[in-house]
Amino acid sequence: MNRLRSAMIVGVVLLASGCGIQPWVKPYERDRLADPIMAWDRDALSSAYLDHVREAREGSRGATGGAGGGCGCN
């Protein structure tokens, strides 16, 4: 019970401090992050197609940026 209470207190403190977080990378320091070469997916159509090719021959699926249903391919 004490552990639970301690965890709750830590959680509340973290949440409260989170609201007060100051951005350590200022907006004017994000020019490199805004460069197109830093985008996760520059061309979503192409990324989606490559995901399709991979999932057609692999048992794994999901967590690549999309979400939904899927199965095998001929």
Binding site: G18, I21, Q22, P23, W24, V25, P27, E29, R30, R32, L33, A34, D35, P36, I37, M38, A39, W40, D41, R42, D43, A44, L45, S46, S47, A48, Y49, L50, D51, H52, V53, R54, E55, A56, R57, E58, G59, S60, R61, G62, A63, T64, G65, G66, A67, G68, G69, G70, C71, G72, C73, N74
Partner: protein, 383 residues
């Protein structure tokens, strides 16, 4: 019959806002896309068009249309004398609404083949926080499928399947040169999950050839969990390197590991060159067997090559050329992109059916491997 997994891929492009910030909608663009996949006995060509338009700074609509044409079939399908030509048409519509730091996306996807109909609804919410250093994305999707089998002369509808997906993603700016991203997705399936075009092979001493074939029997449910982490770093000479890892496990006992490394290098503000290496490995499903001791050996039986123990390696290159730097009429700029990948597949407990027909005793035939080439060419106009 090359089916519903394309729905998943289509959904990947819906999360355009997943990058570094959720408080600006992406630019208007139109894409013309051509693709070709050759390998393992199959040729697949794809043609697609995508149009995206912001009507206000807060509201955008996107639509795409994709046509896949397949000829040939993979070796496990050949074993079942399947049809060898097919076509799939997929339509996608998405609306996005931005409210302060939150982006809402709602999508509908319809995919139709002669023997497969699939409809997906997907909703996602992205929230920027902590001075836009962090973006949290929550997603939910639901798909219904109608599964059929076309034996070349007649079409039989076999059943229905449904799946639901639940995802959460966190993108984080770590330094002015470094961003990271974590995604978790759980997918649950229920219904007819087998592939009607595959068959099991079992030892049959009563047959002169020594083996027989029978239909696959799959479980009617599946739940999978995947978690991916990736990081991207801006190098001092204006280039970017990306590393990613994904862990996958499901209730069919498939465990998968994916590793990828990308390098992106611009040249003179006209070209962006990219190289990538990818390695994937998986264990087989609990009910998979290349050859069963007899038919009915276990309650679930499969010989789908996608469920076998396997590994593959990809080497890829991509070049993007920027044109119209000063714009033209309504267009601000354009790009042309060529992307080529070579994938080498190796199976650890799956063999080519043709080897059974050429006299190998079941269980002694060589393991199957093949190479595939994936070609993409597309033009993008931004306006």
């Amino acid at each position: 019959m090359h089916r519903r997994l394309a729905q998943r891929a289509a959904l990947a492009l819906l999360l355009l806002v997943r990058a570094t910030s959720a408080d600006v909608l992406p630019d208007d663009r139109a894409d013309l896309f051509y693709s070709k996949y050759s390998g393992g006995g199959m040729d697949i060509t794809g043609e697609s068009v995508l149009v995206r338009k912001k009507f206000t700074e807060n509201f955008a609509v996107e639509g795409s249309y994709f046509v896949d044409k397949v000829s040939g079939a993979s070796v496990d399908v050949l074993s079942n004398a399947s049809v060898i030509k097919d076509e799939r048409k997929q339509k996608t519509a998405t609306v996005q609404y931005l409210n302060d730091k939150t982006t809402y996306s709602l999508s509908y996807i319809n995919s139709t083949e002669r023997d497969y109909i699939s409809n997906t609804t997907h909703f996602s919410l992205s929230q920027s926080m902590f001075g836009d250093l962090t973006t949290l994305t929550l997603g939910w999707g639901h798909t219904t499928d109608t599964v059929g089998e076309n034996n070349g002369t007649a079409l039989a509808w076999l059943g229905h399947a449904e799946d639901s997906s639940y995802s959460v993603g966190l993108s984080q700016i770590l330094t002015k040169n470094f961003i990271a991203d974590v995604n978790l997705e759980v997918i649950t399936d229920d219904g007819y999950l087998a592939n009607p075009y595959r068959s099991i092979i079992y030892v049959d001493p009563s047959s002169t050839k020594g083996w027989g074939m029978a239909s696959q029997v799959y479980p009617k449910t599946r739940t999978s969990t995947a978690i991916q982490g990736q990081a991207k770093y801006f190098l001092p000479w204006r280039a970017a390197v990306t590393g990613s890892y994904r862990y996958f496990h499901d209730t069919w006992d498939i465990t998968g590991n994916t590793y990828e490394l990308d390098y992106t290098h611009p040249l003179a503000n006209i070209w962006i060159l990219e190289g990538r290496l990818r390695y994937y490995q998986q264990t087989h499903a609990a009910f998979y067997a290349n050859v069963l001791p007899f038919n009915g050996y276990q309650n679930f039986e499969a010989r789908d090559q996608d469920l076998a123990s396997a590994e593959n390696t990809t080497i890829g290159a991509k070049a993007t050329y920027a044109f119209l730097p000063d714009g033209w009429k309504m267009f601000k700029r354009g790009t042309a992109t060529l992307d080529i990948s070579r994938i080498s597949y190796h199976y650890l407990d799956f063999s080519d059916f043709k080897d059974f027909q050429t006299g190998y005793v079941p269980g002694t035939e060589p393991l199957y491997h093949f190479n595939a080439t994936v070609f993409q060419l597309y033009f993008s106009m931004f306006y």
